[in-house]
Amino acid sequence: MSDPTKPPGAQPAQAVAAMDLQEEADRLQAELEEARPPHAGPISQVAATVVALAVGVFGAVGSYALGLGQLTQPGPGLWPFAISVVIIVLSAVLVVTGRNLQDTERFSRSSLLTAVGLVTLVGLAALLPVIGFEIPSLLLMFIWLRWLGKESWRSSIVISIGAVAVFYVLFVLLLQIPLPRLI
């Protein structure tokens, strides 16, 4: 353990001092991120890696179908095939060795916030060409402020109207960007 009162002679080499410091910094980082949800355990580790493995297999099959050609005359599939093989090999290693890694995060109740946010994003993209950007933007701002950000009703209404007005002035009136719009 690195103790700040330790005399300088106790540190044998610069490299070790830097490592101590790295640990100290890591500890601080961990402390700052205490709010992070707990890690998700071996099943999600394996699941995530299997997805990567599937991507690799899919890439390998797809690029093999494109034609590998020869080294003297590489086909369109040679390069993606090579990458896919690397993905497959590394994912396979990770499936075996990475079961007990702790770098995944569990989905929690607050992940619902992200899901709601995502729905508003898709909603904006879907409504934009139909009814212009003003109303969808206003709705998105309001939902994010009131329910995702837990602002008060009053400040949610004021800020969302104000922000969309600024966007309108900036994008439509000043920069004259051709956004689809209602008015």
């Binding site: 080294l71 590394l90 890694l101 770098d103 916030l113 946010g117 904006l124």
Partner: protein, 502 residues
Amino acid sequence: MDISPILDGFGVVLEPTNLLYCLIGVIIGMLIGVLPGLGPGATIAILLPITYGIGPVSAIIMLAGIFYGAQYGGTITSVLLRLPGEASSVVTVFDGFALAKQGKAGTALGIAAIGSFIGGTVSIIGLTLVAPVVAGFALDFGPPEYAALGILGVLLISSIGNGNKLKAIIAACIGLLIATVGRDTFTGAERFTFGSLNLAEGIDFIPIAMGLFGLSEILYNLEERHNKVHSPAKVGNVWPSRKDLGQAKGAIGRGSLIGFVLGVLPGGGAVLSSLAAYALEKRRAKQPERFGRGAVEGVAAPETANNAAATSSFIPLLTLGIPANATMALMFGALLIQGIQPGPQLVTEHPDVFWGVVNSMYIGNILLLIMSIPMVGVFVRILRVRPAIMAPITVLITLLGAYTVRNQVYDIFLVIVFGVLGYLMKKFGFEPGPLVLAFVLGSMIESSARQGLLIFGGDPTGFFTRPISGTVFALVVIVAAWPLIRKAIRRKPTDRVEEKIS
């Protein structure tokens, strides 16, 4: 050395529009450094569509300003809130926050600003001297060398970042795979397009960067770290006293050098250099126990080093065309959008871009010094803006900005898809950075590798026998094996400790 292009570069910077974009860039950089949530990478990604509307020089000047401006802004949160705004400001927290608790927050900020300014400026001078030499050396590079350098770059970024190395390399390979989507330039065959016309042209860099860096971070932050309002410590006089300056002088000088040298290395140059500079000062100090309890050098050294490193990390990008970190990958993409290929030809073919951007950093650093010392109060007040309010505004800028690039809703959906992918990657411990970097370099690596094969008549051993590409591939092997080597080195000290205990 012919200095007339350098002087012409100053002419470019001093054009009013470029000065304005420099100012906008550094202000945005300061702001996002201070505001929790978005980092410089996310911000640059979100603002990429703007670069379509303005010229290449102005665009890169502004994006560069955001990048080094954030290094200044990050200091403020480290010192006042004990929250490092940037990974490279983590060590600043130790002594910076201790000083703030003693009521000397102003001193810490003042010293950090002066150190940042000196570190940045020393590094720009170094960049001015070194970059043309490296570029001149790299002019003889052929396709095999570029293939090797590209692979080395991807591997270094993947292996130096934090997090699991295997996962990072897998992410990078998926980035390489995504880069192959679309029409193959050699044979004209359509790859992985599934008959979609949108995919036939390949996937554009902007939606990938905006989604993976920008939107994913916003989605990720929605889950937590919300509604946390901190009250910052009071900031008194920011002008450091003569005694403080005298104490920090050596740390600033050494920090500049460490930052400049380590910043050139791919991967976490700025982070590594701030750690190294802090460690060196602590080791050199007559009373190392002062560190962590409010030593001025403990703020000056890392802040100087991270700024110097941020600047010198432009060297590999501007001279070799190899981005040294994720943010530089965005710069690379921004230059490509403007039709400029970053690489050794940049100095000779686009001297206005090269010297314009390099020289703009002098101006930007002066602007940042002004903003961090006399005007620091303004930015301290911004600390009170709640992230809950910033999030929807940045989301709107991202989505509407993505639309404006080609006036297609398809691009918005692409951003959302990559935003979700980035969010899931973060949840499952895969970093999006290597993916984006590999995507940027992907087509370059593929075409150089294939051209190389043609040069060698289909004999892949040619990549290893040419002196420069062979050397680079040797480095690739060393980097790939590095985790094993380090494990062997690390084991020794712990063994000794265990022996002592037993």
